[in-house]
Amino acid sequence: MRVLTQIGDWFDRRLQLAAPIRDVAEHPVPRNTASWWYVFGSAALTVFLLQLATGILLALIYVPSANEAWGSLQALNHDVALGWFVRAMHGWGSNFMVAIVLIHMVQVFLFGAHKFPRELTWILGVFLLLMTLGMAFSGQVLRFDQDAYWGLGIGASIASRVPIAGPVIVKLMLGGPIIAGATLSRFFALHVFVIPGMLIGFVALHLLMVVKLGINEWPMPGRLVRRTTYLNEYHDLTKKAGAPFVPYAIWKDLFFAAFVLLAVAACALYFGPFGPTGQPDPTIIQTVPKPDYFFLWLYALLSLLPPSLETPALLIGPVLVIIGLLLLPFLSGEGEKSWRRRPIAVLTVLLIAIILGTFTHLAGYMPWSPHMNAWSADPVPVQFLRGTTALERQGALVLQVKQCRNCHSLGELGGQRGPALDSVAVRLTQDQLIRQVIQGGGNMPAYGKNLTPAETTALVAFLETLHPRGQVPARDASRDLALSEDQAQRQSAQR
């Protein structure tokens, strides 16, 4: 033991790090910050370290070449011992990191920790969030499969919409005229060197400020932050009534960090690695590209925005959000910290959570996309054909052959892009049905050029049978009137 102490002393006489490390570890923190609410920052750091470790392990096998990346992922999954597990840890680690960073951010905001004097800590945190999302997207590209390939296409299509500079940005992003080898190489450089290097630097500054400015005290309703008095008040809370961070508060961070690592490992073991899906071969077009879960909300938003709003929303929206987040500590740098007295803050968080949650849920079943295989998969159910005339059955055939059910469901099978047809006859009269089929409109293509008059007549005859039992189909009352007048005239003429 004495030898160990002597060795330690030998090093510390030269490094002189023991005293500053002890100062940092034992810096006093307000007693009530030793709470389970304060563990998410350290958990984010833990997962980041896990990502560094598993990322280096993956780089031992992975080849960042468009020709070989997919094969090297297959080798990791199937040939290298536990390669699948390291991939799964890295993939689930990224999901956990995005989630924990977001939770950390919400907690910091609701506890008023972004207020004076921690404005810069918050601003660095906003950049850390953006870099985390950048890592998530670039990591999805390195999993070089069909989703990655078409995901890059979506990224390029969005970037190309920037006025004037768009085409230049696309070529810089892709490293050439198309998505190819150079694209993967530059996303590899971003994911492995550029963004992690920036992340390490920003995390170090973020932590330095947490130590220098102190952990945010537990917010008490009615205890207001004022620039003139806050530093003295915080000094009293820590120096007079505080407790050393180690061991008073750190044990909860340690427990939660271990729990998060276990949770990542459990997900990795149980669910396994993500993909890769099919080969990144652009000639395979039978694919339905989808982003990873943290970008699903954006995927849904892109299909639901009106076309004219899309480009402005895509280009201006993120800029406004980032500027808003950066300005937040300056707009509300003082005053109430407790979420109990900040109803608008709580409502804002809830609103954003509900919006993101709803869009993510919608993207899960994509009601806007045609069912690409409805043609062969979903025959017209028998109950819609009982007691029909020959013409109506011919119409059912037209419905099947012209693939109407790619977009319309019948008997709860088929696409959800257009309205379900089960009771369409109640909503539209014969004339309206003919007009809708031939001219389209309301987001439906026009089929006038694609249907013969006979096919249209048969199809509309079938559609007119689609109404619930006991409910009469819609009819044009004026037409009845016109017909009856016509008959009356004919009768009087006969007399």
Binding site: G153, P282, P307
Partner: protein, 181 residues
């Protein structure tokens, strides 16, 4: 003479040293910026676009739309399969053709041709196009991207080489190659 206004010998050398480093950094920035922007400058010289054969005219039946493959003309050794590209070829009649990019004009997902309903449909956000490539419904703001094409000696050839994107290809739709007229 007061010390405050005097420029010391060492102070002057330090400023000169900073200036010297600034000059060297500026000089080094030139090759670095040119290296980083090579993918843009190369495109300006027209190195990316060229005429690529798709196949013989009689491989495409009249009145039908078929998927055709071509190899992107600009290739790097690490590109692998990513340079293989698909496109939709519609033979209207005789030597009248339309060649569409598979990339949806909305966000670039691959559209599929459904001959029965006569529509191109996109699996991502539900964009749909008529057989002539014009927009039918959904989020796209325009029709499908068309490659300029020409028919020579029974061979159909298209001008390709760049990923069609909504921002870059505003001018591409409907342009004809100079030799087509």
């Amino acid at each position: 003479m007061s010390d405050e206004n005097k420029i010391s010998r060492r102070g002057l050398f330090m400023k000169l040293g900073i200036l010297f480093n600034g000059l060297v950094a500026t000089a080094l920035a030139v090759p670095i910026v040119r290296f980083l922007s090579s993918s843009v400058t190369k495109g300006r010289t027209g190195a990316y676009l060229s005429w690529v054969p798709l196949g013989r005219v009689n491989e495409f039946p009249v009145g039908e739309t078929r998927l055709a493959m071509f190899r992107n003309p600009y290739v790097m050794p690490t590109d692998g399969k990513t340079v293989d590209t698909a496109c939709w070829v519609r033979r209207i009649e005789g030597e009248q053709f339309q060649v569409f990019a598979v990339n949806c004009a909305h966000l670039g997902c691959p559209v599929r041709w459904f001959p029965q309903s006569g529509l191109f449909m996109c699996p991502c956000h539900g964009g749909a196009y008529y057989r002539d490539g014009s927009r039918a419904s959904g989020p796209p703001e325009r029709g499908l991207f068309e490659y300029p094409h020409k028919v020579e000696n029974g061979l159909i050839t298209i001008q390709a080489g760049e990923l069609p994107t909504p921002g870059a290809n505003v001018a591409l739709l409907g342009t004809k190659p100079p030799c087509a007229s």
